[in-house]
């Protein structure tokens, strides 16, 4: 990780004739580049705002009111979370493209107008789609906090004379404020580092963001120095925001005070119960139902824009995708190979580091955890720029093999894997191990008899998180793949250029299906564990 980042700085400072800051000068003086930075900021800001609005509304409804079918809604939010944004963006081009977009066609046939209702290839469309796939981050954050605020805190204000609105404004909101701000930053960061969605939706409208600009600089003729120079501000922005977020959430302590023991009563929505539920479903249909449906339709139809009748029904797309189209078989194989490999190695490393830091087995264990978490501040595409520069030259020439992708994925997924593994080990009380020790087990036997069985579910979950993260990865892969080492996400991106809509839909559904199967498997494993031990 240090190596690639170091190379970014070096490369950004190396012009054709030696050391210079020409790269930076060019990046910060050319209007196209400045425009891309500006676009990115605008987009990320609005994505953050919308994601916080949707995410916190849903989180509050699900945790604090008597909204029906909450589990289903949580599952649907999870589905939006799992959907790769580039896939969502692609589905939305089918739904709301200005000419052939389904929603626009319906609008035209209903009103007889010539105009399109939506144009997804615009700043607005871009913000809309990115927000749809960023809000789950805010959701999980706010839902956690809402579950920790006990009703007692609100009752205390109530008894002192505050009405519902006052309570919401003076107690509930301030308590959740740090999480709201944290959620905003998270959504902001997420959209800052996205590549797929802005590329699919922005490029046709000549809207560049920082990530697509970096990608463009890698196209022929490649300008590595500029790409590197352009990566630096993105990297710094991410670092700054994460530090800010840490600071805001670090002081969050008070919002969890009284989280223990305090019961939470649910607000009764009364006559609004059903209308609110419909609203929630409408929001989720934008991120889940509509895109999934159009993908399914596109996968099964001869002509995706026509109604799905028997005549139009075909499995040709599947045959073509799996057996005929050149790259897909290799790409699928590569994707799953990399997924399994990264998840396995990643889980092992994450578990080892988490165990060592948690039990403080080594001096300086804290620094280890810092290294495991550090990649969090590196956007995928920046990591890819660094890896590209670092591993296309001796001593490690990995470019052109799947190993460079492996390293990219491993680095990128390490923070998630590590935090998951750390939570797992934190939940295993050290006294459980001590008890085994004092009864006669040595360190190895303790690991085998106590630690391993108790950590199993958590580590399986870790594995699955990494696996899902890997198979949907696009922003780093797009710079690091070669014709011999393509992965599914890259193939989907390429096919977009060729207009192979049916094949994209098939591959997209394959990714979704595998992701959901993996999640179900985790829940099944966790559920069984819960049955056996409850708690």
């Amino acid at each position: 990780m240090l190596l690639p980042l170091g190379w970014i700085f070096v490369a950004s400072l190396k012009g054709e004739g030696g050391w210079s800051i020409d790269g930076y000068v060019q990046v910060f003086s050319e209007t196209a580049f400045l425009k891309a930075i500006w676009n990115t900021l605008i987009i990320s800001f609005w994505v953050g705002v919308i994601a916080v609005l949707i995410g916190s509304l849903l989180a509050w409804l699900v945790t604090r009111t008597d909204l029906p079918l909450k589990r289903t809604i949580r599952a649907l939010v999870m589905a939006s979370f799992v959907t790769p944004p580039f896939l969502g963006a692609f589905a939305w081009t089918l739904l709301a493209g200005p000419n052939a977009g389904l929603l626009n066609k319906i609008y035209r046939s209903v009103t007889g107008s010539e105009e399109a209702l939506f144009n997804i290839f615009s700043m607005g469309g871009l913000i809309f789609v990115m927000a749809l796939y960023s809000f789950p981050y805010v959701f999980s954050m706010i839902a956690n906090v809402c579950e920790l605020i006990s009703s007692d805190l609100e009752d205390a204000a109530n008894i002192l004379g505050a009405n519902k609105l006052k309570i919401a404004l003076t107690v509930t909101l301030p308590l959740t404020a740090p999480a709201l701000l944290g959620g905003f930053i998270l959504a902001f960061l997420h959209s800052l580092s996205l590549f797929g969605a802005p590329a699919i939706l922005g490029l046709p409208a000549s809207i560049h963001t920082v990530t697509t600009q970096i990608w463009a600089l890698f196209q022929y003729p490649p300008r590595l120095d500029l790409a590197a120079a352009f990566s630096v501000p993105l990297l710094l922005a991410t670092m700054l925001l994460i530090a800010l977020q840490k600071k805001i959430l670090g002081r969050r302590g008070y919002s969890t005070v009284g989280g223990k023991g305090g019961e939470r009563r649910l607000l009764h929505l009364g006559i609004f119960r059903i209308p609110v539920f419909v609203l929630v479903l409408a929001i989720l249909s934008l991120s889940v139902f509509l895109p999934y449906w159009i993908l399914l339709k596109a996968a099964l139809a001869k002509a995706w824009a026509q109604p799905l009748t028997w005549d139009n029904l075909t499995l040709e797309n599947f045959r073509f995708a799996f057996f005929q189209y050149g790259d897909t078989q290799d790409a699928i194989l590569n994707t799953f190979k990399l997924g399994i490999l990264t998840a396995t190695v990643g889980t092992m490393i994450a578990a080892l580091i988490a165990y060592i830091t948690n039990r403080q087995l080594l001096w300086g264990a804290r620094y280890l955890s810092f290294f495991a978490l550090a990649p969090l501040v590196v956007p995928g595409i920046v990591l890819a720029v660094g890896l590209f520069i670092a591993y296309t030259r001796p001593p490690f020439v990995l470019y052109g093999t799947i190993w460079i992708l492996f390293i990219a994925y491993l680095t990128k997924e390490m923070p998630i894997g590590f935090s998951q593994a750390e939570t797992t080990f934190k939940s295993i009380h050290p006294e459980l191990e001590d008890a085994s020790r004092i009864l006669g087990a040595n360190r190895l036997q303790v690991l085998k008899d106590v630690t391993a069985p108790l950590a199993r579910t958590g580590l399986i979950a870790t594995w699955c998180f990494i696996f899902i993260g890997v198979i949907r990865e696009l922003s780093a892969s797009i710079l690091l793949f070669t014709p011999k080492s393509k992965v599914v996400s890259v193939v989907i991106f390429d096919l977009k250029e060729e207009g192979q809509i049916g094949v994209i839909a098939v591959l997209g559904m394959l990714l979704l299906l595998v992701s959901f199967l993996v999640i179900l498997a985790v829940q099944w494993a966790a559920g069984r564990e819960v049955l056996a031990t409850r708690e």
Partner: protein
């Protein structure tokens, strides 16, 4: 068969000493409590004995054999000890039976033999009906019994208990105290018990070691510690007490203030004028409203304090009075029988026998 000796034991955590120069000897089959407020180093001491921690100075001996010192650490699994933890540490992924049987795995026993042992222990702690349950299906008290059975089944030389009852509710806690004592009488294993609850220590222990700031302040039977505390800290930590500050005078007397001399229990002599406190338990003071009666008691050698009732609380089985003395704003807490009713502001005489006035040093 095991004696334990802690000699000049010191353990530091990043420069602050959790345990400092601690000395304690525990006899074979003895039940000793380490009693003290949180942060006094009692749990650290226990973990040092168990071998989870290594001392920076001093040593731990079992049967005169050194098992812990700055240069030597016999690992926990080879100490022939058992430990019961504050969190019970019952393994959630094993049934009650598997939990209890675990320690026998490391002893070379036949299957039948070890099953027999587990059965016997389960019976002893009344869990035989729950042997196939998982811990999450048990109440806190039952989990605690599993932990007890699991620790005892291996027939350890030494049993260590780390605040084992602090997570239980009040009723259960009281019941488990007697249970622990009963099991001790049955097995007579050398036992070291860490607690911050004086009643727990009194019910279970042969001797109590009161700890404060990483050191043992006083060791003795419950009665010795209660009746003859060495320091004000010990006196206040064990039971309610009045602590009256004063100066030492000739002939086992303490001057509390202008004209208020108290005759105290004869212990070691001190220097005249030395700072000293008097520990006087509220239930060892009696009250009377009559001056002549008070005078009679005084002639018999009792200490007499004249004062005014400042506060009265009714507890059903007793009145709890606060008596204000005219000297130095001193107050006395007095526990009197419910038949002795005095109104607020009433002038009363408080009487205490010198044997009950124990001179204590500062900690």
């Amino acid at each position: 068969m095991a004696t334990v000796a802690l000699k000049r034991l010191t353990k530091r955590f990043s420069e602050t000493a959790a345990v400092e120069d601690l000395n304690l000897e525990i006899g074979d089959g003895e039940f000793v409590s380490l009693l003290g407020p949180s942060g006094c180093g009692k749990t650290t001491t226990l973990r040092l004995i168990a071998g989870f921690l290594q001392p920076e100075e001093g040593e731990i001996q079992v049967n005169q054999q050194v098992i812990s010192s700055p240069s030597l650490l016999v690992p926990p699994e080879r100490r022939n000890m058992s430990m019961i933890f504050q969190s019970y540490a019952v393994w959630p992924h094993m049934t009650v039976f598997q939990n209890v049987a675990y320690g026998l795995k490391f002893q070379k026993l036949s299957r039948i033999e070890s099953e027999k042992k587990v059965e016997r222990l389960l019976q002893l702690v009344h869990l035989e009906a729950l042997r196939e349950r998982y811990p999450s299906e048990l109440s806190g008290g039952q989990q605690q019994r599993v932990a007890l059975a699991r620790a005892l089944v291996v027939e350890p030389q030494i049993l260590l208990l780390d605040e084992p009852l602090s997570n239980l509710d009040a009723n259960l806690r009281e019941e488990m105290r007697f249970e622990i004592r009963r099991l001790h009488e049955e097995f007579r294993i050398t036992t070291i018990y860490v607690t911050h609850d004086q009643a727990e220590a009194m019910v279970t222990s042969d001797r109590i070691a009161v700890m404060y700031q990483g050191k043992v302040v006083q060791v003795g039977t419950a009665q010795e510690i209660f009746e003859r505390p060495k320091t004000a800290f010990v006196a206040e930590f064990i039971g309610k007490t009045n602590i009256l500050k004063g100066k030492w005078e000739e002939g086992s007397q303490v001057m509390l203030g202008e004209g208020l001399l108290v005759l105290v229990a004869a212990t070691e002599s001190r220097k005249r004028g030395a700072e000293v406190s008097v520990c006087l338990r509220p239930h060892n003071i009696s009250l009377t409203g009559s001056a002549s009666e008070a005078e009679q008691w005084r002639q018999k050698g009792y200490n007499l304090f004249a004062g005014v009732i400042q506060r009265r609380i009714y507890f059903g089985d007793a009145f709890d009075y606060l008596v204000e003395l005219p000297v130095n704003h001193l107050t006395l807490r007095v526990v009197a029988s419910p038949s002795q009713r005095y109104d607020l502001g009433k002038k009363v005489f408080a009487l205490a026998h010198p044997d009950h006035c124990v001179p204590v040093g500062e900690s």
